[in-house]
Chain length 213, copies 2
């Protein structure tokens, strides 16, 4: 490399992630934060993805949600995301081996036309395509609170029983409320309470879980 | 919708984003933050994407960088990202009309093999494929500091003249340093100083610029 780059810490490509997680662990220690051991790999990966230590304080895990997600992945679940970005950020290598498909219906033509007709978001309508899926379904929602509303509505109506929902939409309109609704629904879920989240966070939670299996 | 959802603010799909930006504007006002007018649409969209008001204080824009980026987009530039997630998050509709292509070489086989041979990250090597591109190149880097190192090295060696670099990698190892290196290089750039950034932020900056053209 160029001599101008000498002040950069010299580190092998394969060691960068390990070093990052060490730094995250050190900083959590300095802040006096002890993560719940069962979930620390997930919370640390959210911090790794965002460089935002708020995630150490705001993540919620419903009882046994990890067992449910890992069980569903092992039996070839379908993961449904609300954005192409989340779909794209999920590492497919191991999932392919497990027979897990990662789907996103947000750009489907029937979703667009129904959304217009019914005055609902495309995110809301795209979740309803889960009803046609055989086998367990895991939702990974990083963008749209209306996607969570759609899932909870189908669950409350008794037509959908998700294996689990990763509910980490981000933003300012109905985001906080949709996450509370999900938690209160009784659906097994992982949520980042508050406004923060994102497609990258939804993807990284799925990755954290599969890398630990 | 189900009656359980009644406490959610009732808002039309097409108004959600507008309402979000109003809330962001209000909160910036309450915090006494006045954004530079020329860049406020970009900074607000970063906050919209992350729900993180830190972006109001840490974004850097080199002189005339927006003119350069808009000029390049109008003349059919290629946008190169360091992740499939950033590539996927960039809205293609208007870019297609402008003849702009959005490319990401991170998963290319020759990138993987060279990366192994040379002991460099795939991100570093994937940037070198820009050298084969005709016409202006804009980089949108949301993940890998080594991608920025690669770009700066090619620039310093006189072989690459990017139209601009959106340099918002996220993380803990060499991230802060790589951004400072980019700023000091003299390459026209948009940077979020510090550790924060991400593929979603890289994509949203491209989107903020094109939506305002």
């Amino acid at each position: 490399m160029n001599e101008n780059l000498n002040f950069i810490e010299n580190i092998k490509p394969e060691d960068i992630e390990k070093r990052s997680f060490e730094i995250i662990g050190d900083e959590l220690g300095k802040r006096g934060i002890v993560l719940p051991e069962e979930y620390s790999h997930i919370i640390k990966r959210c911090i790794h993805t965002s460089a935002d230590f708020d995630y150490a304080e705001t993540m919620y895990f419903s009882p046994e949600v990890l067992d449910r997600i890992m069980g569903a992945l092992k039996s070839g679940a379908t993961i449904i995301t609300d954005t192409k970005m989340a779909q794209s950020g999920i590492n497919k290598k191991k999932l392919n081996e497990l027979g897990v498909e990662v789907s996103c219906y947000i750009s489907d033509e029937d979703v667009a036309s129904q959304s217009k007709e019914r005055g609902l978001t495309r995110s809301f309508v795209s979740m309803e395509k889960a009803l046609g899926i055989e086998g367990p379904v895991i939702f990974a929602i990083g963008n749209a609170p209306t996607a969570l509303l759609s899932i909870v509505e189908m669950y409350n109506n008794g037509v959908l029983q998700p294996a689990a929902v990763i509910g980490v939409p981000v933003g300012f309109v109905n985001v906080v409320e949709s996450k509370e609704l999900l938690i209160d629904s009784g659906i097994p879920c992982i949520v980042n309470k508050g406004r923060k989240g994102g497609s990258n966070i939804a993807a990284c939670i799925v990755n954290a879980i599969q890398y630990n299996m």
